[in-house]
Amino acid sequence: MMTFPSKRKASISGNLKRLLSGLPLIEALCILAILFIYLPILVLITFSFNDASIGIFPLQGFTLKWYLALVTDTRFLETTRNSLYVAAVTTVVSCVLGIAAAFGIAYHKFRLKKILARFYISPFFLPGQLLGIALLSFFAFLQIRLSLFTVMLSHIVISIPFFYLILSARLQGIDRSIEEAARDLGANNFQAFWRITLPMIRPSIVGSAIIVFATSMDNFIVSFFTIGADSTLPILIWSMLRRGVSPSVNAVSTILLVVTFTAAVAVNRFVDVKLQLV
């Protein structure tokens, strides 16, 4: 790099520029941004250990009673089971459908390919509320009773695009000649897929599955419109919040955050998930 010392450099604006580039301004802004993102999360974790029934400052002292209250709360245990069930089925079904679609689009040439590819990702861009009321009208129109099952059907709609997007990005990056080489060496289609292609896309599948599972567990907006009389964890949290019982909500959320975080760290450590969005 070449610089030419000149009189202009010594001007006030030059000094100011040098001062600014010397200050860790960007670093400071980064830390502020992360703090801003995590501010409510830190607050809710703090309140989950706070010995007061409403979320106001100053803090009242340390307690574990909000966590203990959860263990004995049958509604909490039941809705957790419901949420796990919905999230598990959603993840498995949307995984199979989304990945198959990604292969179909990536490995073939045909008319309407572009339109179909757009169709697959479109639910991703539709706000949850609009999808929720559309599905509510649809189920009502067909006189299908709302239940955990309709919630599941709805969650799959938003999860297919996710698997499709991540896997399409991954498939673009892999070298298909390796699979071809395996075939030339006598592997059949299934062997070539199972032993060559699958190991290459596995990290993307695991990463997407964790995100889809966690988003389904946390989904409130779509569930709210499609659940009827049943209940998932976020629906229970909503009803608790409306009655003003917040500390247990904070405890639930803290547990969920810890679980999500651990899962994400584990994936990051054991398989190499690259960030491949859009």
Binding site: L39, L44, G55, L97, H108, Q129, S253, V265
Partner: protein, 292 residues
Amino acid sequence: MNRTRPTSRTDAKLLFQLAPSTLYLLVFFAIPGFVLLLYSFWQKKGFSIERVFTLKNYLTVLTTDLYIRVTLNSLIIGLSAALLAVIISYPLAYGLRFKLRRYQSTLLLLIFVSVVGSYLARIYAWKSILGQKGLINQILLYAGLVQEPLSFLLFNRFAVIITLTNLFVPFAFLPIFSAFQNLNFDVVQAARDLGAGPFQVFYRITLPLTLPGVLAGFMYTFIFATSDFVVTSLMGGVSGLMVSKVIADQFGIAFNWPLGSALAFVFILTLASGYLFLVGLSRWLNIRGAGA
């Protein structure tokens, strides 16, 4: 190539791969959208819905002052939140790409986890931050900056914008960061070698090359923030009332699905025009960027 030549076998395979998800999304995504459209042309009669074609709902939406006001309010709130989210995300993405390389994966993980965890509880936590006895008031009182706790922090437009910004910063961040990751550092280096100062490099190289990411991030945040109904319900008050809350009410307590659907479609059209405007703007900016 042999593989891509259409044969009945690859056709069967293609059908096998694409038919399930296509059918699923047709049945549970496209058709529900159409059913919602049908509802917007029907009419509420007492506690049931009369399946007779009418334009009354759309007329009501377009002639009622309240509905137009809350739709505009939604746009103002959504645009503000999207703008703030981009302003916060840009230095963060820049820092993660160029300055904090050592902590990059840890910080990415932190940002990622915040997206998938505790949507409702985070909104509620903002009540504890902005409330009369909230974090901010306690800090201000302690520092002696105010005598009385501020009451204007909650239940208004400001509270909604801050909370929505907080919820959707990661949605603005991810595309921007992705643009930074695709930024070829050689170009930056070349500009430097040719004598460009840090500010010139930023304005003429870095910013134009990351602008598509900024626009994508802005659009995601705008769409999601504008249509969120939970934040406005919990902390919107009067000035923070958004059309999403009004729509949710039509499908809940008011039980006027036809009116709710009409509101939703007018809202979708408004969003779509906003989106097209932004697409047009980005095209225009790209041309400018190429010319400069």
